[in-house]
């Protein structure tokens, strides 16, 4: 007896699947999360309800969600931009650390002597520059030698992590706050290099910057010559060669921009809530979350805004849950991983469809 289901190639991928796959991925991830909740003795439905409430219903829930989504939009577009050319920048996390380091350095070094209108952009851009420089070696070896950027960018994240530790914990560090006698802390940036959140919320103006950046990237890919080249190379490198489009140069620049965007995520945190180098960033995993955000949005820059907000909501809800009940915060991490797996796995349904195979004998008899 054969399994009566088979995959058949689709000749055409219907439009509704573009929306259905992400939605079903999330539902499937919630089911997987429910299994873990049940196994550890929590009620899944109630837990999810609490999470939704915590992330999306109250005023502070919503504003916390939007605030958190800022960094996820940046890391999301960073991953998505590289993916426009089928490049996997897995090292957004490390580039984000470097963005923080670069931003903090600029703020500490120049913040006092510059007005806010200049200091803040300088901090942001320095973060982008550091992020771009952190990916320059992977970008060169990828474009010249074809070395897998997945490995190089990921490994550099561990270097970045230790660089963070070094800059915060070394007593002679430029970044170290010497006024504290307790646990080592980063030195706070001067006020002129930081910005205020809106009212009593945790939403910073950088949220709008993130949205604008996402929209601009969307426009670049769809409407500019640069975006055209990216699309040609992504789809068929041989056609690019045929048309005299240099895949090497474009690979280099696309990866550098991707790194700059992840770096911008870091420096946006520096002007936003952190205002100093803070080791707690290394436990947040915003860089990795960006990959999931991008995958769920199918690497569409506009959809990334939505998926980042959704993800931020899940995490905000999860955090609130841990405060109000004893549910472990790691349910959020499980959900994040499960969403990525289902979103990537769901891609197969865009190219294939399941077909019920009738038995041949029945077909003859009828």
């Amino acid at each position: 007896m054969r399994f009566p289901l088979r995959f058949e190639a689709r000749t055409d991928s219907p439009k509704y699947l573009s929306a259905a796959v992400p939605v079903i991925s999330i539902i499937a991830a919630l089911v997987v999360g429910a299994v873990f909740l049940l196994a550890t003795g929590y009620a899944p439905i109630e837990t999810y309800q609490e999470m939704l409430k915590g992330g999306f219903t109250t005023f502070y829930g919503i504003t916390d969600t939007l605030g958190l989504s800022t960094v996820l939009i940046f890391t999301g577009v960073a991953a998505a931009f590289a993916f426009q050319m089928n490049l996997y920048n897995i090292g957004g996390e490390g580039q984000l650390y470097l963005g923080m380091i670069g931003g903090a350095w600029a703020g500490l070094a120049f913040g006092d002597s510059l007005p806010s209108a200049i200091a803040i952009p300088v901090v942001l851009l320095m973060g982008a520059l550091f992020g771009a420089l952190w990916i320059v070696v992977p970008a060169i070896v990828r474009s010249k030698l074809g070395t897998s950027e997945i490995v190089t960018t990921l490994l550099l994240t561990y270097v970045a992590l230790n660089l963070m530790n070094y800059f915060i914990y070394t007593s002679s560090s430029f970044f170290r706050d010497e006024s504290t006698t307790g646990f080592p802390q980063g030195r706070p940036l001067p006020e002129s290099a930081t910005i205020e959140a809106f009212g009593s919320t945790r939403v910073y103006p950088t949220f709008f910057l993130a949205v604008v950046v996402a929209l601009v990237l969307f426009w670049i890919v769809k409407r500019t010559e640069y975006g055209y080249r990216i699309q040609v190379i992504a789809d068929s490198p041989r056609a690019a060669q045929y048309a005299g489009i240099s895949a090497q140069r474009t690979t280099l620049s696309v990866m550098m921009i991707s790194g700059a965007l992840a770096g911008l995520a870091g420096s946006a945190l520096i002007v936003g809530p952190f205002e100093k180098l803070d080791i707690s960033i290394t436990t947040m995993g915003y860089g990795y979350a960006g990959i999931v955000v991008a995958a769920l949005a199918r690497y569409n820059f506009v959809a990334i805004i939505i998926s980042a907000i959704l993800f931020a909501g899940l995490r905000t809800g999860g955090d609130k849950l841990q405060i109000t009940s004893d549910t472990p915060v790691h349910i959020g991490v499980i959900l994040q991983g499960a969403v990525l797996l289902f979103a990537l796995g769901g891609e197969i349904f865009r190219r294939y469809r399941l077909r019920v195979v009738r038995q041949q004998q029945q077909a003859v008899a009828s």
């Binding site: 789809d235 068929s236 041989r238 045929y242 048309a243």
Partner: protein, 516 residues
Amino acid sequence: MSNTSHEVVQGPHHESGAASVALSAHHITKRFPGVVANCNVDFDIRRGEVHTLLGENGAGKSTLAAILCGLYQPDEGYLTRNGSVISLPSPRAGLAHGIAMVHQHFRLVERFTVAENVVLGSSDLSFRLKTKDLNDKVAAVADSYGLPIDPTAVIGDLSVGQRQRVEIVKALYQGAEILLLDEPTAVLVPAEVEKLFDNVRAMTASGKSIVFISHKLGEVVEISDRVTVLRNGEVTGSVEGRGSASTADLANLMVGRHVDLSVQRAEHPIGHEVLQVRNLSLTVNGVKRLDNITFNVHEGEMVGIAGVAGNGQKELADVIAGLTSPTSGTIAIQGVFTTDLGPIKAREAGLAYVPEDRLGMGLVPSMSILDNLLLTRKRDVIVDRGSVRPEAARLIEQFEIKANGPEHVARKLSGGNAQKVLLARELSGGRTPTALLVVCSPTRGLDVGAIETVRRLIDDARSAGQAVLLISEDLDEILSLSDRILVLYRGAIVHETPGESAHIETVGAAMAGLSK
């Protein structure tokens, strides 16, 4: 050519008659999303017969063959083997019933020997391979069908024709009684085709049945005992008896109207030199791909480059188009040296290039016709699609491209329409008006109707005074279109002849490396 052997083969088949139907398909219908690939098709194959499945691309012959060997399952209809109903859920099940397919693209492991490839997939192998026994067994099977082959040879060292023989031996070794040969001659030189046909006759003489899938009419007439013609998934006709069908009749059945593939060589003046190639050599990884090539192409002249695939045609085209830098030698287009300067400079000098690989090199599959038109043109920093759209619409109309407009995605075009888009772009000039048109295998894989159009478009370009370099493995195409023919063998030009007085035998021999 080999009339004697054909009489011998045909004898026993005629005596056996319709009683010995080995495999038949009844009322087969197979649908794919949006298309009916086979519609109520009846087909049968007798023992010891060559039955040809003829049709254009997309006519449904590959689908029917896939159903016959178990690769696809029909939506309606059923198969009978020796009169009893069978179901073939997989190619393995097909093999169990003695049905095997020899695919157009060989499925051989290059590093393995012939014998290792032949026994691959056999279920009766011992854990430790007894190499000598296997070699003897494979050689015995091969010899019994007159297919001499060295079982210890490594596949990577074999020619295309020999590899095909390995595929056939493999099918026979696995006990195939019915062999489906999918476009088997597409990759062969004339001499190899003759050898294949001898093998086919030897196999049918010993009672095997051959389903021959092809769209080359001349061969079909030569080898077939019976021909069934498919069009749009339906059987449009069946012709019994070898030699009783003419190519013209079959072409009409295939296309549904009268076609004329012979281009009238128009009288046209040959002007100044457009392409000049001097002492061109290319060595890749120590292998000489192009060997001191010198020739030129003039205004209003079509030069045909004949040769078996892999003798340097692709390299020659890529070097002229500026995609590869030659090891030595020069290229000049309209007096401008473009050697080493890249494709954009070559285009600025007047080059247009239609590569063999239409979708994936000439066209970007996921992009629209409009965006594909932009591929070889000068683009502004912000791409202004609006200003190109009217031109795209005009070209679609002018070149009779079947598409839903400029936004139609290239991947969803048929082969013929994709080729027309490519020609439309290249002929309409991008950076500079086209002076030199380099076309590689322009009609490969196209249906008869599209072949007619594409050849006419290329011929029109020549008549309009463009220099045309036609690189094709289709010898008939080269012979019927070219003003001058050059034969490429192992990267060198081994033969040159004017198109009008060219003989297929001489050119064919040169292609096989037999001249001089």
